[in-house]
Amino acid sequence: MSNVFAQRRQKLLSLKALRGASPTPAHTEETCPACGGTIRRRDLAAGRYVCPLCGHHYPIGAYYRLSLVLDKGTFRELDGSLTSNDPLSFPGYAAKLDAARRRTGMNEGVVTATGRIGGQKAAVGVLDSRFFMGSMSAALGEKVTRLVEYADKNKLPLILFSASGGARMQEGILSLMQMAKTAAALERFSQKGGLYISVLTHPTTGGVTASFASLGDIMLAEPGALIGFAGPRVIEQTIGEKLPEGFQSAEYLLEHGFLDAIVPRPQLRDTLIRLLKLHGKGGSDHAK
């Protein structure tokens, strides 16, 4: 019975996303976690969830992200029903999955879709940190891989927005294997001349960083995003000292040569339009 309500909620949420509505009510004030300033939620939503006082980028949901990036009315979701079936029969996992589905209205931590960006058709995937921290499950790896294969088959440019806490512990080794699966699909796509733009958002860590997120032809990130392989606490324990200010931030990665650019959220769509244009119509050589 509760399933009926969950499905209704999912449907409503996806309709909402299509209209480009903000995922949070706009009637209260909010304290910015970065600068401590008080912001009206209405202003925050109008500014795409970037703090108007300090520029802090709030994490945003996948459907909302897609509504910011895609041309209106062009969103078409792929594999929306795909989910995990608790392959290791891990204690407590099935119930947690169910709760996450109901809470978020999503079946997995990534939404994959096709749509147009400035008129250019593209295959787009967005990880959502509200669903198990965007962690890599077999279903998430499968959806990303199918999206890569879809882009390959239809000669479309591929754009992935990453946000992930790393591996889905409850799926153990099968989570780990998704790193190889997604990397292999991207290698094939790349060998055939496909364009892949990877956008790293807060936070991108662990197995996602060490697989598809790091393999873009173009590497972009949002300001202030935490990006790394090992978590800061693990590193501090290993080296026995405090980490420097700004370690593993997008700005740190840019300085160390792992990003092409840091792009504030309000400029992201225009940047993507420009990049697609720079890579020709299909963004892949077999399209020319």
């Binding site: 929306g80 795909l82 989910t83 079936n85 077999a138 099968l174 790193m179 790091s214 590193i235 160390h256």
Partner: protein, 273 residues
């Protein structure tokens, strides 16, 4: 399999100080090994040991994790935890194997990639990702052998093989049992419990389709009597290499793609949207 050990006991055996490491397997199974060092960018990371050797007279590229035997070696090799430079050295050797049409044999034995400040600054994530992608697309036979600890992405980076073999008491997991317990239950002392639910033993992984074969060990572990383990692994490698060598270069790449493409395909369900 004669010995009925708990997963935690196998973890202990996999980490045993006297357990044969990559250098021992190279000595026992190959001849004329020539070690190749350096990533050609800035340094040589000794935690990855690699080079060219002869396997029954045939040139192969060998790459593995190296934990070291002495305290100095442990420190120098971070107990077998590679830095990005190690993975980039591995990539260099993989590309050479492709150039000279040599099969690749890898030996996996690491707690994981090194979680250090410099390792992050030098792109640990990028280095592993690039190694996975490269290895997946090669057109030469690739056989990976998990010999001890197969920990996390740091292990998988050398694990994208057409065939993946595993020693009976080796373990292979998404994270160390301690790290797993710390993340999931915020309590690293529950590692024995983690061992029980993680499905990290060779038998579990064979059942899950993650590995293709198990190399038996004596009851007390490979370190107690390594010779029969070397012989069994040698025979398995001869067999697998002979089978893979019948495939064309493009079929080898396609075979490896398909193998990893199917990983987790039984872990999927459908929910209405």
């Amino acid at each position: 399999m004669p010995n009925e050990l708990t997963p935690a006991q196998r973890v202990a055996l996999a980490r045993h100080a006297q357990r044969p490491g990559t250098a021992d397997f190279i000595d026992a199974l190959f001849t004329d090994f020539f070690e190749q060092r350096g990533d050609r960018h800035c340094m040589d990371d000794g935690s990855i040991l690699g080079g060219v050797a002869l396997f029954h007279g045939r040139p192969v590229t060998v790459i593995g994790h190296r934990k070291g035997r002495t305290l100095e070696e442990h420190m120098a090799y971070h107990f077998g935890m590679p830095s990005p430079e190690g993975y980039r050295k591995a990539q260099r050797l993989m590309l050479q194997a492709e150039k000279f049409s040599r099969p690749i044999v890898t030996f996996i034995d690491t707690p994981g990639a090194y979680p250090g400040l410099e390792a992050e600054a030098h792109g640990q994530g990028e280095a592993i990702a690039r190694t996975l992608a490269l290895l997946s697309g090669l057109t030469v036979p690739v056989i990976a052998v998990v010999t001890g600890e197969g920990g996390s992405g740091g292990a998988l980076a050398l694990g994208v093989g057409n065939k993946v073999l595993m020693l009976e008491n080796a373990v292979y997991s998404v994270l160390s049992p301690e790290g797993f317990a710390a993340i999931l239950w915020k309590d690293s002392s529950r590692s024995a419990e983690a061992c029980d639910v993680m499905k990290l033993t060779a038998a579990d992984l064979l059942e899950l389709g993650v590995i293709d074969g198990i190399i038996p060990e004596p009851a007390a572990g490979a370190h107690a009597a390594p010779q029969p383990v070397y012989r069994a692994l040698d025979a398995a490698l001869v067999r697998e290499l002979a089978a893979l060598s019948k495939l064309s270069p493009s079929a080898l790449a396609a075979n490896r793609y398909k193998k990893f493409r199917l990983m987790g395909s039984k872990a999927l369900g459908k929910e209405r949207l």
